[in-house]
């Protein structure tokens, strides 16, 4: 007895379909229908992105993982060394200092650098006139190329009594201070410049978020006689909590990967006072003119990436309830 394909039956039958819609769609999907349905066009549009991501994001990540278990200088043939690179990095006497400095940089940036954009954004949003000018001024440092900004600040930080900051402080009988030339003040000096250089971008994010806060809440608070501080504490911050949490994790991740400032200002000195984890990675890779230790560099990169991924997961889990209120 010949069997009859139920689909055909239902195609030809005028009775309601017996198959569910999902089963029906699965059964009908053929390469031809996929092409006719625009699948090929979708793939063609997707290909450039897949290529770019593959070539510049995923391939380097895979290579990083491979190189972390190899001894290679990219010139001589690579040899497999297992976890030796990870052991070498963990036994490096500079690592604890680099971790300490990175944590200190992130901490100082969080304490001083994190509230500054928020305060600036709140004050700017309260301004009745020239708000655009204030925004432009706040964003200006972000527009200045980082190398130029660092060179500029290097002259500000000139440790001689004729340095810009020392001259200004001299007017009020302070200093001269050594700034970058002292193991105690070098790292905070980097945080100060970094805050100046990066605050503008966050200010713009906060200003955009502040426009979403219902003005009626402020008006109601004003009617109740609330001060500016109480309005900020009870309305602005709760209303911005989602954005605040996001910028905080972005800042922590960014500062954990701080490289530009210590590299351009101090090269990690004086006496490793500003060496950071990323600068260590750079030094492994490019610090030796006879060829880089790319195995150790990639091993430390992976350890940092793993730490940041775990930290981000933990952070998101801990703040989930607060951010979704």
């Amino acid at each position: 007895m010949a069997t009859v394909d139920p689909i055909d039956v239902h195609w030809t039958d005028s009775e309601p379909a017996v198959l569910s819609g999902r089963e029906y769609r699965r059964a009908r999907r053929t390469p031809l229908t996929w092409v006719r349905g625009g699948g090929l066009a979708t793939l063609l549009f997707l290909l450039p992105m897949l290529f770019v991501f593959g070539a510049f994001s995923w391939y380097p990540i895979v290579r990083t993982v491979i190189m972390s278990v190899q001894h290679t200088n990219l010139v001589s043939p690579a040899t497999w060394v297992g976890l030796d690179n990870f052991r070498a990095v963990l036994n490096d006497p500079v690592l604890p200092k680099a971790v300490e400095n990175t944590a200190e940089f992130a901490g100082l940036a969080l304490i001083f650098g994190y509230p500054v954009p928020l305060v600036a954004a709140v004050l700017m949003s309260e301004a009745r006139r020239f708000r655009g000018v204030y925004s432009a001024l706040a964003y200006l440092p972000v527009v200045i190329p980082p190398v130029v900004a660092v060179l500029l600040w290097k002259t500000f930080y000139d440790a001689s009594p004729t340095g810009v900051f020392n001259t200004i402080l001299g007017w009020v009988h302070l200093g001269p201070y050594p700034w970058l030339q002292s193991q105690q003040t070098a790292l905070p000096s980097l945080v100060l410049e970094s805050t100046w250089a990066n605050a503008g971008g966050t200010v713009i994010i906060y200003l955009a978020a502040l426009t979403g806060v219902n003005r009626e809440l402020y008006e109601a608070a004003s009617v109740d006689g609330a001060s500016l501080w109480r309005k900020v504490w009870h309305i602005t911050i709760p209303q911005l909590r989602g954005v605040l949490l996001l910028t905080m994790i972005l800042q922590i991740i960014g500062t954990a990967q701080v490289f530009l400032e210590p590299y351009l200002f101090t090269s990690g000195g004086p006496a490793n006072a500003t060496v950071t984890v990323l600068l260590m990675i750079y030094n492994y890779a490019f610090g030796n003119s006879l060829g880089g230790d790319y195995g150790s560099a990639t091993a430390l990169s992976l350890m940092l990436a793993a730490f940041l991924a775990l930290f981000s997961l933990l952070y998101l889990r801990l703040t989930r309830s607060w951010s979704s209120k």
Binding site: A159, S182, P270, G287
Partner: protein, 456 residues
């Protein structure tokens, strides 16, 4: 008849075309050019210096019509060199310090130039010790010397005069360096003595010079079995002296993280009384820092009165990319011969080179160490005597003193790693009043030993 004419016409056309084709092929074969890229000057060089270099290139291309030379600005620094080496973006011909060439050659990272170099007429005249710096363990010649230098004390004659010192009598002991530095700082407010303190191996390099001058050494032996001796007694004395000059005398200015270029600029700007650098640095002071020649003075490094005290000597070699083909290698050696070596051994070339340098307002007669022998060095200087434009009288203390000094090679094992390790202690004493000299050197020694043992 008509067809015969047509055939004849066709034959003429085809023959003509063939002749044109053959001649073009033959002409292409005879004029096939080899293009090589070569390092030129450091970035930021003056227009006169660049023009002078371009004139040299034009003269070379005229003499070698089949070679095209593409100049590329270049300054050797450890990090950029390592990156370019790994990325394969170095020029065909580039320069490396004495400290690196042999290891790079042993690792197969430089082209083997043995065959080409042995053809050079002056090959057998090289100072064997200098040539050995560019020869691998297996005897392959992978680089030729560009120049050799001894470390020297550069001083500002104007600041000496302002401090009441005789600019013709530079210090001959480290005690005098300290007292002169105090006088300069007191009278002028400038740094009496400055030293490279940057975390790019330069701090360790100059500190090693200081230790050599007192009679100390940073290691014994060669290769991975070498023993680090960074915490030797002379190193402790040298670091303690720096600490005193920085914190007690306060004669080292306010900038302690200067690298090679920074300190040259500070000196050329008249802000430094004395500093240590290679004896040939006057060229850079002119071409990149516009120094006023009248302020310049050059003296040998003061040496302690003991048998092991000596002056650190080093130099630069010229090498070729390992992937250069035979034609490129041959062209590269021709360029090395023309630009770097001939002016030292060939009178006509030496004079032509000196004339070009003078026309480009570049220094001629900068003090260096002989690449061949002292007699050849003196002879070459007599050829170019009419063109010497450096203030020779102001360099007399060095030129008369250096050949009485013992020149000591840089640490042989893991040189750059040793320097890098020493950067830390130097920076520490210059930026921390309470730095513990012995502890810093002990820590540096164990770090350096680990690097040496690992062959890094």
């Amino acid at each position: 008849m008509k067809s015969t004419r047509m055939t004849a016409l066709l034959a003429v056309i085809v023959t003509s075309l063939l002749a044109v084709f053959a001649s073009s092929v033959s002409s292409a074969a005879t004029t096939k050019t080899t293009t090589i890229s070569v390092v030129s000057l450091i970035p930021g060089s003056t227009p006169e210096a660049i023009a002078q270099f371009n004139n040299q290139v034009a003269a070379f291309e005229k003499a070698n019509p089949s070679i095209k030379v593409k100049p590329i600005e270049y300054q050797w620094t450890g990090p950029t060199f390592a990156a370019k080496l790994a990325a394969g973006t170095l020029p065909t011909v580039f320069e490396v310090p004495f400290t690196d060439a042999r290891s790079l050659g042993d690792n197969g990272q430089l082209a083997d130039l043995t065959a080409e170099i042995k053809q050079l007429p002056y090959y057998s005249k090289y100072n064997k010790a200098v040539l050995a710096e560019g020869t691998t363990a297996k005897g392959k010649i992978i680089a030729l010397p560009k120049g050799a230098y001894a470390m020297a004390l550069h001083y500002n004659r104007k600041l000496f005069t302002a401090a009441g010192l005789d600019p013709n009598k530079p210090p001959t002991t480290w005690a005098q360096v300290q007292s002169y530095a105090r006088l300069i700082t007191q009278k002028t407010g400038k740094a009496g003595y400055a030293q490279m303190g940057k975390d790019d191996n330069s701090a360790g390099w100059v500190f090693t010079t200081l230790v050599y001058s007192l009679g100390g050494r940073m290691e014994t032996g060669r290769g991975t079995t070498a023993k680090a001796t960074l915490n030797n007694a002379k190193a402790v004395t040298a670091l303690s002296m720096l600490k005193k000059m920085r914190w007690t005398d306060n004669t080292m200015g306010s900038n302690f993280d200067m690298g090679w270029s920074d300190i040259n600029q500070a000196f050329a700007a008249g802000n430094v009384g004395m500093y240590i650098n290679g004896s040939d640095v006057y060229t850079n002071l002119v071409s990149a820092s516009n120094i006023d020649p009248s302020i310049y003075g050059l003296a040998p490094i003061p040496l302690a009165k003991n048998k092991t005290a000596g002056v650190l000597g080093g130099g630069t070699l010229v090498a070729v990319r390992p992937d250069a083909n035979a034609a490129a290698r041959a062209a590269a050696v021709k360029w090395i011969d023309f630009y770097y070596e001939r002016p030292l051994v060939d009178k006509a070339q030496a004079i032509r080179n000196a004339k070009t340098l003078v026309a480009g307002k570049q220094p001629v007669g900068v003090p260096a160490l002989p690449l061949f022998n002292k007699a050849q060095y003196d002879l070459a200087n007599t050829w170019i005597k009419p063109y010497i434009n450096v203030p020779l009288a102001q360099m007399k203390p060095f030129n008369t003193g250096i050949f009485n000094q013992q020149v000591i090679a840089e640490p042989a094992a893991s040189t750059q790693s040793v320097y890098k390790t020493l950067d830390g202690p130097v920076q520490a004493v210059l930026t921390d009043k309470n730095a513990n000299v012995q502890q810093l050197l002990d820590q540096a020694n164990s770090t350096a030993q680990a690097q040496i043992s690992a062959g890094k």
